[in-house]
């Protein structure tokens, strides 16, 4: 079966800055594919190119059989997009917003009304549909933001960090909605910097950093890259020097890698359980105060750390 999205050597430059560096990947029909990377990694730029908002500097992508470079209008008709911003009109009600955006996608009359009812049910906001968006909570706005992207029943949905800045309950509701959409057959390109979301939702994950796709595969394939290693995260006090501590820890036999970031040191070790005591002793010996310690088995965070030397949250 032909992929629903095929990205080929996509490049986007802004002057001297290369925001996207020759990335290539595919998404298959019915798949949830996550682009995982920290803020500024190039996730939104990639989605912007794939949704025809900006042309690529070079390369191309075939979306539902149409080139984003040569047939942008056909691509627009095939895709739905849920942008990172709440791209709604605050002074219009949810119903008015949905009607307006439906009309922009060429829907009208009874078909539009019926579709509005369906998407409102999908995001569970029928009862407050007539209220203005500005009266909604952040989570409710995000759900209407998603509903707009679903109005014209797209084959492929782009979701750009749809859970940014919302409470855990709304986040959970959105993740469940994404799973439900996928179960109904929709293919989804999902970008996030939350490792847990990528792990929970995705069939496959692409890890992106500084505009480059540095790893691609199923979660099992990716975690296999770091081998049988665990991760220890030491959270330090504000006045402590993570770089100094990391330098010291690297000399220990049980430490494979030690990477300093803001107020913390991430340690890759063959066994977190065995390394914990000597690492804490060494830290205390240096007079450095540890606030808390996190222990992680192999996961996407560890993959990112392994590949970049930095924690994903940076």
């Amino acid at each position: 079966m032909a992929p629903i999205l095929k990205v080929h050597d996509l490049v986007k430059k802004y002057g001297d800055l290369t925001a996207v560096k020759e990335i290539s990947f595919e998404i298959h029909e019915g798949e949830v594919f996550s682009l995982l990377g920290p803020n500024g990694a190039g996730k939104t730029t990639t989605i912007s190119i794939l949704s025809t908002l900006f042309p690529p500097t070079s390369g191309d992508a075939i979306v539902c059989g149409h080139s984003v470079v040569n047939h942008p209008m056909a691509v627009k008709r095939s895709i739905g997009i849920v942008p990172q911003e709440i791209a709604l009109y605050d002074d219009l009600s949810a119903l008015e917003n949905l009607k307006f955006w439906g009309q922009m996608y060429g829907l009208s009359g009874k078909a539009l009304s019926a579709r509005i009812e369906e998407v409102l049910a999908q995001v569970d906001l029928q009862e407050r549909a007539k209220e203005r968006i500005k009266t909604y909570s952040g989570g409710m706005k995000r759900r209407i933001n998603i509903a707009v992207g679903l109005l014209h029943k797209p084959r492929l949905l782009f979701m750009d960090e749809p859970t940014v800045g919302i409470d855990p309950q709304s986040r959970r509701a959105i993740l469940e909605a994404v799973k439900e959409l996928n179960r109904s057959g929709m293919s989804i390109l999902y970008t996030t910097h939350y490792m847990e979301e990528a792990q929970e939702l995705s069939d496959r994950v692409g890890i992106i950093d500084y505009g480059e796709l540095i790893a691609l595969g199923t979660q099992e394939e990716l975690t296999a890259q770091v081998g049988e290693t665990d991760t220890l995260i030491l959270h330090l006090g504000e006045n402590e020097d993570p770089a100094y501590l990391a330098e010291s820890l690297r000399s220990m036999d049980c430490v494979i890698q030690a990477n300093p970031t803001d107020h913390q040191v991430a340690i890759i070790t063959s066994s977190a359980e065995k390394a914990l005591a000597p690492v804490v002793s060494q830290t205390n010996a240096l007079g450095i105060h540890i606030y808390s310690v996190d222990m992680h088995e192999p996961n996407l965070e560890a993959v990112f750390l392994h590949l970049t030397g930095r924690a994903l949250r940076d």
């Binding site: 802004y14 912007s48 949704s51 025809t52 908002l53 900006f54 209008m73 627009k76 008709r77 895709i79 997009i81 942008p83 990172q84 911003e85 709440i86 791209a87 709604l88 009109y89 002074d91 219009l92 008015e96 307006f100 955006w101 009309q103 922009m104 996608y105 060429g106 203005r132 707009v148």
Partner: protein, 420 residues
Amino acid sequence: MQLKKFFILAFKDIRLLLRDRSALLLMLLAPFILTLGLGAISGRFSGSSSTGVHNIPVVIVNEDAGELGQALIDLFQSSELKGLVSPTILDEVEDARKYVDEDQIAAAIFIPEGFTVSIIPSAGQISTGDVVQIEFYANPTRPTSAGVLRSILDEFLNQVEVGRISAEVIVMQLIEEGIFSIDQAAMVGLEIGQEMAQAEGLQSSITIRNETATEGESIEFDILGYMAPGMAVMFLMFTVTDGARSLLIENQRGTLPRLLVAPTLPGYVLGGKAFGIFLKGAAQLAILIGGTSLLFGLEWGDLTGVILLILAAAFAATGWGMLFAAVLKTPGQIAVTGSAVMLLFGILSGTFISLQYLPDWINVVNKITPNAWAVDGFYILSIGGELDNILNNLLGLTLMGVVLFVIATVIIRKRGLVIK
């Protein structure tokens, strides 16, 4: 289908405006209040029987022995200007200046000796080409009244100039064709000049608003009628600036990028936004004009002309708005620049200070503003002009709009509608 989206986009903006009470108040109430305030300051609402400036005291000192000096006095004493001006004839220039300096009169007019002769040489004399200048001595504390007097004087001088030039041209042709000699030229020229001036209708060309007064018909200059168009067009600039700002706000909030990834052509998105701005501007002007007409009895003149002028002014102003949206990058920049330009255009077009007190070059420079063309057009219509008389204004505004739209579109195409 694409065209339908164009209208849906425009009407969405109108709907959003109707939901924004503060913007509505600023758009509609502020110009009303400012116009009323300035009208009150200028005396529009003072006095129970008065609805405007009237009986403007003026002193004329005539040292000219010829026909034109007397014609000017006759004009100020004519029945057409009765009620509007209250002229006094004095012999001494110094006395007249003293009255102005003591704020007893709005202005003094000095007609120097030889004024007529400098324009119409006597038989046997040849014109030197140097016209003796009439002096207008204005009272700076009464700018509006002085402005009215200056307008009457300017109109008189224009008519004299028309008569003089016409006579010169005709006489020169007649001499060249040998119909009469140089000796006869002065007398013939004088007769032609007088006929031309009569034919043009020296006094009838000065058209003053004729309003109902308590004691029969009197002619009054309505200060509110003078200020309302200026205020309305100035606030039109505010509205289009705000519309342009909304384009950049949509960019920031993500609705513009979302529109551009919907299957709608970018040109229709931009056009729909521009059409929404145009509709808002035209509606604002129409409401202000209708409101001042209903509430204060202002007569705006020929309805077709007024409607076309509203549309042309809104179109030109929208062009400015789109240029702001193309050149500036943030809503804040547009807000600051827009307010500054709104005030500058208002000043340049005489909304706050009569153009008679500003340098002549401003009358050239202000042609880049929609205000100058539109206010002039509304003034022409309000004094009885018809559609034919405002064709230049309509053309000027339309051309301005087209040129600005083209420039804005070129810049936006180059830069991209979405600013990253």
